[in-house]
């Protein structure tokens, strides 16, 4: 539990949302995002309702709003260009606070911002209530290609090992009086990156050797096959179903 893969994104808790099997939650979030994307952008109130739905899930999961909002900042670099759209898009124009803006550009920006934010918020909630390890098992159960799941799980296992190796290389550089100042030193950094790549590659070969030595033949044995009950699926489906209702209202009203 506590000592598992307590990744920074994960927030330990005992809420009904935490208790749902990972694959139910994954499927629910995926459907929710699809429905949000399918909601017409002109139905502004529909997005507010979607946000209320997410807030309800967050409340059930006992994830504080501050935690969620801080995590949402990850979105900023991705939506930065949405801000530009009202300035560069063509078509009829309007004036807001003395700025000359394109109407279709404004709608476009709103579209990206609203849908992006809701999608990221849903993912942040998923990550906050599901352990990384469980997420991978969930993907495996949802019949994601096993090779991709393996790659992801090795990334998690060896991320720290490689970061540590990088740190040691940095300390070795510093100990010999090297400090990167400006472009002229990029060569050294590039060579370090190359060395790190070779080392990681060789480690990969050693790991593979160790796996083969223990009978690995290309597939990871699926250890605990937890299945979800009908009630659990129903609970997980509550979010996408509610969102679907909102979406349909958005199209008909």
């Amino acid at each position: 539990m506590g000592a598992g893969h307590t990744h920074k994104l994960y927030r330990d808790g005992a809420s009904p949302v935490h208790a749902l099997p990972a694959h139910c939650k994954l499927a629910a979030v995926f459907c929710f995002v699809l429905i949000v994307v399918a909601t017409p952008r002109t139905a502004v109130w529909a997005f507010a309702l979607h946000a209320v739905l997410l807030a309800a899930v967050a409340a059930t999961a006992r994830v504080p709003a501050g935690f969620l909002l801080k995590r949402l900042l990850i979105e900023v670099p991705f939506v930065a260009f949405a801000v530009l759209m009202p300035f560069v898009a063509e078509g009829p124009r309007t004036h807001v606070l003395g700025l000359d803006l394109s109407v279709s550009g404004l709608w476009g920006a709103w579209n990206i911002l609203a849908k992006g934010t809701l999608g990221v918020a849903a993912s942040v909630l998923l990550a906050a209530t599901t352990e990384l390890r469980q997420l991978l098992l969930g993907l495996q159960r949802l019949k994601m290609p096993p090779l991709l799941v393996q790659i992801a799980s090795f990334m998690i296992r060896y991320g720290d090992v490689i970061t540590d190796e990088m740190r040691r290389m940095r300390i070795a550089r510093l100990s010999r009086g090297f400090e990167a100042r400006g472009v002229r030193h990029w060569g050294v950094l590039a060579k370090s990156a190359g060395a790190l790549f070779i080392r990681s590659y060789e480690r990969g070969e050693r790991v593979h050797l160790a796996m083969v030595s223990r009978g690995y033949t290309g597939t990871m044995p699926l250890l605990d096959a937890t299945t979800a009950t009908r009630t659990q699926w129903t609970r997980a489906a509550a979010l996408p179903l509610a969102a679907l209702a909102v979406c349909l209202l958005g199209w008909t009203l």
Binding site: M1, A3, G4, H5, R133, L136, S153, F154, I156, R157, Y158, D160, V161, R203, R206, V207, L209, A210, M211, V212, S213, R214, G215, Y216, T217, P221, L223
Partner: protein
């Protein structure tokens, strides 16, 4: 050997091997390990120790000669069974422990062999219990100390109930306490052990018998104490005792 004796845990006969680039590493190695023996494989760097180890579970294919594990020849047809019988513990536990948690890592070998459910759980608990790491089953391996990781690495192969345990430099990077703990664990196991090491006092402590591999052949095979006291042999094959260590002064238990 009489015909009624059990097949030796490991029988290597006339094993020769050259790497694809033409570099020949082994020139006819003969080595037999009786069941339950603990044997140290000594030799300078580049003597071919790792190459020999990789033949034991069929990672490398013999150029000439044969390897037999408890009567079963190492061959393509039954590699899975050979890899279950030969448990190799590699030098760097970070290479050996590749699963997200200790439990899953220990379960990997038996699960690959088809074990599931309660039987698998029992196997994992038993293996972790033998190395005293049961309390750490749900930890990710990289959160353990180096000594603990080495012990879990031993558990990962014990879980396969191997006929022979092959350890590559088991004492490297361990502090004296972890080193002793590992020695206690190895002594408590009733499996055949082949231990590749440069740590001569450790070999003396754990292995009644040693063999010296040098230049791709076995150049000496005898009791560890005798070999370590043979100054000419030691000098001839770049084997050196730590400063102040006199193997003659050590009284070995029974």
């Amino acid at each position: 050997m009489s015909t009624t004796a059990p097949a030796p845990s490991l029988a290597v006969a006339g094993l020769a091997y050259a790497y694809p680039d033409g570099h020949q590493a082994l020139f006819g190695v003969d080595l037999t390990l009786r069941r339950g023996e603990r044997v140290a494989l000594l030799g300078p760097n580049g003597a071919g120790k790792t190459t020999l180890v990789l033949h034991l579970n069929g990672i490398l294919e013999a150029g000439a000669g044969s390897v037999t594990v408890a009567g079963l020849p190492v061959a393509k047809a039954h590699l899975a069974e050979i890899r279950r019988r030969v448990g190799i513990v590699f030098q760097d536990p970070d290479d050996q422990l590749f699963m997200p948690t200790v439990r899953e890592d220990v379960a990997f070998g038996p699960a690959a062999a088809g074990l599931r459910g309660a039987e698998l759980d029992a196997r994992v608990t038993e293996a972790l219990d033998r190395v005293g790491m049961t309390a750490f089953a749900d930890r990710p391996p990289h959160h353990l100390s180096f000594g603990q990781r080495r012990r879990v690495a031993v558990a990962t192969v014990l879980a396969m109930r191997p006929e022979i345990l092959v350890l590559d430099e088991p004492s490297s990077n361990l502090d004296p306490a972890s080193r002793r703990e590992l020695a206690d664990i190895l002594r408590s196991l009733d499996v055949t052990v082949l231990m590749v090491t440069h740590d001569l006092p450790y070999a003396l402590e754990l292995c009644p018998r040693s063999v010296v591999l040098s230049g791709g052949v076995i150049v000496a095979d005898g009791t560890t104490q005798e070999l370590l006291c043979d100054e000419e042999l030691m000098r001839g094959h770049r084997l050196e005792l730590p400063f102040g260590f006199d193997p003659r002064s050590v009284t070995l238990p029974g």
